[in-house]
Symmetry: C2
């Protein structure tokens, strides 16, 4: 007997029939002798419907009241799932975030979980019940309802799994796992059976939208094994088969070492690049450039500063493309003159492509294979940034698909894992 | 400055525009210096939508989960109203039943309020806020969400008014007050400015659907002055004009004494009558008849037993017409033979018409005027039952409208109050 947390997204809960399918799948696990806690999202479209009503009333609705409003979506879907489980003959009970309680800070609409009391859930599990816990929400120290922000149900599920020390947290979604890259760009992309926590973190932050990044961080902090798998399979698929499907996010390096040096290719098109040329290379110049940018609430992604030549240096960074015009204005009107930059070059027709792999830590030559592959395709590299398990380049965005496909092939990702291509 | 509770039904909260109108009305009261607590129902149709989803999943959904589900309707409408109030520049905050908390017993789907903690509401009122409290719901001793049953928001409002010792509880609805009888039957029916609590109780229990009867009982127990008035008037109508509209339910006999002896004519068509003839007049026979009926969960309304003749008596009672067939079966197969009844007579083509008036207590001849009026119209009386402030008759249901109109005229209800017709 193991203790398992299931999480189902809005699409999986999107209709009466789908809720009944979720109930059948959970009932199967329960019948096999497992203790199960289920964390559902709101029925698809419900959160948008509720927030739309609020927006119709006020352009700037109060965040506390928005959370009060939005939290009803998961409360309703959780009750419906409990009813569906009982219709399957399974003893079940639903709890809201405050009933558990899932304690959070008071940052309405984007609260962070500070603790979960597992006593109530444990008592009910011991009584043989399946427990349904509303995703996305909690309660602050003053007893106000809070929500965790979009995708917060992933974080709820992982946090509950951590609190009750679950053996595994199964995230059921509308894709069947994590891929080496986006299959829409590279048809040969393969589903990974196992991915390391660190790799998943890089993949999630680079735009693989399978899991909310905060849930991955939470899983890492509490070492919760998380498996991403499909909710679209037959709900009565045999358990052992189900447990071999999807992608397991693991903390055991051994498992991962069997995998390729590079695990996946991530990419993001929503990039824009800004460069200040001939900036005086003096202490404090980086802060003089990025301070005003941060103050304007603009998130900076990659930052590159090169070796100075003749007392000046070139300073480049990337921002989300939506912030491009605002950032360029800021540089021209304020930052450039203030730091005495020679010229400002800006380009919003760029993209970022990254190779991610925990094996990069112990293998040399990975980056050079990346650069050689891109050169062979005639793709110019505009910026480079590296970390222990990731190498990212900024290139012209018209080459994005070409670069991703070439790298996917060069690192052997279209083949079975274990076949290290570069060393 | 006074402390006022407003209650708005589902129709009044039925759209964004209507919620904004509610906010305008409440803002007017707040701007005039009053402390206001608002208790809204769910947006019209929402409770049915939610319960419909549950019914689609299970023919017998678990009551605890139904309450979990249904309570979201008021939570959402309350948050939207708070947002609308803030958009009007009014500081506002919404609370669920459990946040107040409104404590109830654990009778899911029909819970009863056992207590309300007013500390949180009072603190917020003192801070200058308008407080929105979800109707219809509470929390039991084990922290489970409960609901009060259909129409429960009326009871929530009156209970909150009692807890915070409000000066008045204003029930805004889609009618503009309590009438002497149904205007659809008697066009001359008048709106009452004042009605006594006892009269309202009889009117409500006899099918005047303006207020949920439990809310009237609650108002009586805690002596909360309740005013029923229209939410369809211009929300910015002057306050003094608004406070003269509607119908005040009062506990001060003086006020009522100015009114007519008979205040209103109530009626109900959903009646069926059953009679056991020649039942032995021995101790325990009433219980032998009605015990099995109650055990079958059939509500009995009027009960009449006459003086015995030659050791036997005739025993009649009425039930809701929906229970007629079931009750008749029960009498024929079980109760009749058991008590040795001579014959069973049954009729589901009957109705009940009642005159209600607190003045009846101190005036004789009221009942005889009723009977004479019906006789003059050629209407035969099949059963009579009386209480201190009500006289009810059962008649053939084809005469219902005729009887109501004749009685309305005979007791002078089409004229201004104060003109006592009978003595």
């Amino acid at each position: 007997m193991s203790l398992i947390v299931h999480k189902y997204g809005g699409t999986s809960m999107g209709s009466i029939e789908r809720i009944q399918n979720v109930a059948r799948r959970v009932a199967k696990w329960h019948a096999a002798g497992h203790q199960v806690v289920v964390v559902p999202s709101a029925m698809s479209g419900e959160t948008n419907r509720l927030l739309g009503l609020a927006k119709d009333i006020s352009a700037t609705p109060d965040p506390r009241e928005l959370d009060m409003l939005a939290a009803t979506g998961e409360q309703a879907s959780s009750a419906l799932l409990a009813i569906a489980l009982m219709a399957q003959g399974v003893s079940a009970r639903s709890y809201t975030g405050w009933q558990v309680p899932v304690k959070t800070d008071s940052a309405y609409t984007k609260a962070r979980i500070t603790g979960i009391d597992d006593a109530r859930i444990r008592a009910d599990l011991d009584a043989g019940r399946v427990i349904v816990v509303t995703g996305f929400q909690g309660i602050d120290d003053d007893g106000h309802i809070t929500t965790l922000g979009r995708g917060g149900s992933d974080t709820s599920a992982v946090a509950v799994a951590a609190a009750i020390k679950a053996d595994e947290c199964l995230i059921y979604t509308d894709v069947d796992g994590v891929y080496t890259t986006d299959p829409r760009v590279v048809p040969e992309a393969r589903r990974m059976n196992v991915v390391s926590f660190e790799e998943m973190l890089e993949m999630a932050s680079l735009g693989s939208k399978v899991l909310q990044i905060r849930s991955v961080e939470f899983a890492g902090k509490y070492r919760v094994p998380v498996r991403v798998l499909s909710s679209l399979t037959d709900p009565l698929i045999p358990l052992d088969e189900e447990m071999k499907s999807g992608t397991l996010i693991t903390f055991e390096e051994d498992k991962n070492m069997e995998a390729a040096v590079v695990s996946g290719i991530a990419f993001s098109r929503d990039e824009a690049k800004l460069t200040l040329l001939a900036v005086p290379d003096t202490p404090g110049v980086a802060s003089a450039i990025l301070g005003p940018v941060a103050a304007a609430n603009i998130d900076v992604d990659m930052i590159v500063q090169n070796q100075s030549v003749k007392g000046t240096t070139d300073f480049s960074f990337t921002v989300n493309r939506n912030d491009f015009v605002r950032t360029l204005e800021l540089l021209k009107s304020q930052v450039g003159p203030a730091v005495g930059a020679g010229e400002i070059i800006a380009d919003d027709k760029v993209c970022k492509v990254s190779i991610v792999g925990i094996g990069m830590r112990s293998h040399v030559g990975i980056a050079s294979l990346m650069f050689r592959t891109l050169a062979e395709e005639g793709i110019n590299i505009q910026m480079i940034s590296t970390s222990e398990i990731k190498t990212s380049v900024v290139i012209n965005d018209k080459y994005m698909e070409l670069a991703v496909r070439a790298l996917h092939k060069a690192f052997g990702l279209d083949q079975e894992p274990g076949q290290v291509v570069a060393e």
